[in-house]
């Protein structure tokens, strides 16, 4: 079995079998990343271009490491954010890159739909590394991998996604995948941060964190964009932290074996208390480690699909 798609733009159109294939492929690469020589020749001679229109350290590094461990040639291309402004189309930039025989383009872009537009315009495979508020499919997949690694099964799994769901591409990717896999997904945050009609995506909406955490096996915290204060989404960081911050007390409301996740970078003391971030329940660093293995799996499958 292989991935039938040229691109990985969103988790919404993937089948359960395809998601499982990606996770299983990542298993074998997880083993590679544990070796002393963390390198296999699978993508030797292939070129992967990281095209990042938004500053990102961890996602870009993770993709770079994944590609290098597969022996691919990696180019990092970070156009200044000024070139995103009107007058220069993304497609022109990408066609230039394609002309240099890139096999896979990994795109991070501030605009929702950028990856889809790019994928339509180039023959290279496109991996969406985050487009606006739309999706961040590889983050969703590494989150699934981390849950699965803890021995949790998705069917009936109770997951709370906490915070600014409206502006979160991580939340959207996780919602699509978890709902598809049969999990019971709760989203919780202030009503100002719940996107219109989110319940129609198959999740239950909560406004009170304590209520939402009851009995969940997974808590997925979202990063609060601190600069959103002052735009009438929440009154103060202080009140946000009091209402939606994950404290050790609150973790006790969840299932005793609960795991706490966060896509990073974390705001300690805002959405997550330091003692929770550093606790045994926290799998935040496992997420980072798994990110490399999952992205190796994705790059491997995508190159085979070409």
């Amino acid at each position: 079995m292989s991935l039938k798609h040229k691109d990985l733009l969103s988790l919404a159109p993937l089948s359960v079998a395809e998601i499982r294939l990606i996770l299983e492929t990542a298993d074998s690469f997880k083993e590679v990343t544990g070796r002393e020589i963390k390198k296999v020749p699978a993508l030797r001679g292939r070129t992967v271009v990281n095209l990042f229109f938004e500053p990102s350290t961890r996602t870009r590094t993770s993709f770079e490491l994944a590609a290098k461990r597969l022996s691919a040639d990696v180019i990092n291309f970070s156009p200044s954010s000024s070139s995103v402004v009107k007058g220069e189309t993304l497609l022109d930039t990408a066609r230039n890159i394609e002309a240099m025989q890139a096999d896979i383009i990994v795109l991070r872009h501030p605009s929702a739909g950028a990856a889809e537009a790019l994928a339509r315009g180039v023959k290279s495979s496109v991996i969406n590394a985050g487009d606006g508020w739309h999706e961040h499919p590889t983050q969703g997949l590494l989150d699934l991998y981390t849950i699965r690694e803890r021995g949790l099964s998705f069917e009936g799994l109770k997951v709370a996604i906490v915070g600014d769901v409206a502006h979160s591409r991580v939340a959207r990717s996780n919602i699509h995948a978890l709902v598809k896999l049969g999990a019971e997904v709760r989203v919780v945050g202030p009503p100002t941060m719940m996107p219109a009609g989110v319940d129609k995506l198959g999740v239950r909406v909560y406004y009170h964190l304590d209520e939402a955490l009851r009995g969940v096996q997974v808590i997925m915290m979202l990063r609060l964009q601190l600069e959103r204060q002052g735009r009438a989404l929440f009154p103060t960081i202080r009140e946000y932290a009091r209402l939606y911050g994950l404290t050790a007390e609150r973790v006790k409301l969840a299932d005793p074996g609960v795991i706490v996740m966060h896509p990073g970078p974390i705001n300690r003391g805002v959405e997550i208390a330091p003692e929770v971030a550093d606790s045994l329940s926290s799998v935040i660093l496992d997420q980072v480690a798994n990110g490399v293995a999952v992205r190796m799996g994705i790059l491997y499958l995508m190159s085979g699909a070409n």
Binding site: T89, S111, A112, G113, K200
Partner: protein
């Protein structure tokens, strides 16, 4: 020069509906009736099996001149108009510079005369530079030839300024046109707010952003007694409020655009920038409400909001691409689809494209009465064709209807007694 239009199905809404000849002499309609005798040398147009209609009047177009001629000029816009059966068009003032003074108005009229195609009626700005602060010289604009005032695309957010504009306009009996959008509520949105904007991760504009301003404008029309015309209403709420305002006898009129009664926000999927316009495509429920509004007379007028943009502008990301689509060359078949569907009678459809808009802006157009300007559109109601933007007369190609198989085509357009468009030639 006389023109004898023979044997067509003549519809002059509220006045005549049946098979007749139409005789045109010296730029005017001189007779409508069966078996007319034409003077020697008259040009004969065989209209058997075709509709003979008063030329369409579009209250809402953007011809981009001066300032953005690469998108559309008055010449190319007028060519698109007559190809779509529109003999009169009203040009919004969001040019560069803004049409907020008589010099710009005169320039637009001069360019229109030079083009010699459609009648062009400029709409003046409400405020200087359409900045929503100080009133433009509305008296001068009126005298120079503006037929309405609007800050279209830039709604007048300050309610006091809007009140003063409506009051001031009373002295000139000029309609005040508003694009109803609360800019704070819409806050950077680029499509209708709902589950689709949520899935696509695009900032949404809620229906309420339109409804709030419709409510405000109706209240101000009641306060001032002004003639209020609501541009491109797109929501169930707007339709309901206009219906209510009319039932109370307020001087409120409204227009709807073909895209708002034909397609929904679903069209945005795939980040289709040709489905990006303002107001945005709404839900199926809103589409039904707009149709109901057209059916029961709540919505007086069908206008296109013809908004040309260059290809490279629509190739930007969805959020960055400009709002707007071209509409002049697709409005007729999309309106006739409402006739097929039973939403409008044929006569009501012609009324909304022609007679009603002329009445709303007080233009001596939209009729085939004896003595009227000879602006006539001859239509083959049955002809099927495929929308091919490459064949548009407009300079721009931004339409979501490319590839649509549609029915109903303009065959001949006559403006002021002169044939300015013939489909067969255009196709040759």
């Amino acid at each position: 020069m006389a023109i004898h239009i023979v044997g067509g199905h003549v519809i002059d809404p509220g006045r005549f509906n049946g098979v007749a000849d139409v005789l045109i002499e010296e730029g005017r309609i001189v007779a409508v009736g069966p078996n007319l005798k034409a003077p020697a040398g008259a040009t004969k147009i065989d209209a058997k099996g075709r509709l003979v209609l008063p030329g369409f009047v579009d209250l809402h177009v953007h011809f981009r001149e001066p300032g953005f001629e690469y998108k559309e000029s008055i010449q190319s816009g007028a060519a698109a108009a007559v190809a779509g059966g529109f003999t009169s068009v009203c040009c919004m003032p969001n040019t560069n510079p803004v049409n907020d003074n008589q010099a710009i108005t005169e320039l637009m009229l001069e360019r229109a005369r030079a083009a010699g195609l459609a009648n062009v009626f400029p709409i003046g700005a409400i405020t200087k530079g359409s900045e929503g602060k100080e009133l433009a010289e509305i008296g001068d604009l009126r005298r120079a030839g503006c037929v309405a005032i609007s800050d279209d695309g830039k709604p007048v957010m300050n309610s006091l300024v809007m009140r003063r504009a409506m009051e001031y306009a009373l002295a000139f009996d000029v309609p005040v046109v508003d694009h109803c959008e609360d800019l704070h509520l819409a806050e950077g949105g680029c499509m209708n707010e709902g589950v689709i904007s949520t899935e696509l991760g695009l900032p949404g504009m809620p229906s309420a952003a339109e409804d709030v301003m419709v409510a405000r404008n109706v209240a101000l029309a009641e306060l001032t007694g002004a003639r209020l015309h609501l541009a491109h209403i797109s929501t169930e709420g707007s339709a309901r409020m206009v219906r209510e305002a009319k039932s109370r006898g307020l001087k409120v009129t409204a227009e709807a655009c073909p895209h708002h009664f034909t397609i929904t926000e679903e069209t945005v999927r795939g980040y289709n920038t040709y489905a990006k316009m303002n107001p945005p495509l709404r839900t199926w429920k809103d589409v039904q409400a707009i149709k109901d509004g057209l059916r029961d007379g709540t919505i007086d007028v069908i206008a296109t909001d013809h908004a040309p943009h260059a290809t490279q502008e629509k190739q930007l990301g969805f959020a960055e691409a400009p709002f707007g689509i071209v509409g002049l060359e697709t409005a007729l078949p999309l309106t006739l689809a409402l006739v097929e569907e039973g939403v409008l009678s044929l006569e009501a459809a012609v009324d909304k494209l022609s007679t009603a808009p002329a009445k709303v802006f007080g233009l001596a157009k939209g009729t085939l009465a004896v003595g009227a300007d000879a602006d006539v559109t001859i239509v083959d109601q049955q002809e099927q064709w495929e929308v091919d933007p490459a064949k548009f007369f407009s300079k721009s190609r931004n339409t979501p209807f490319a590839g649509w198989k549609v029915k109903g085509r303009v065959r001949t357009t006559i403006v002021g007694g002169r044939v300015v468009f013939e489909a067969s030639q255009a196709e040759g």
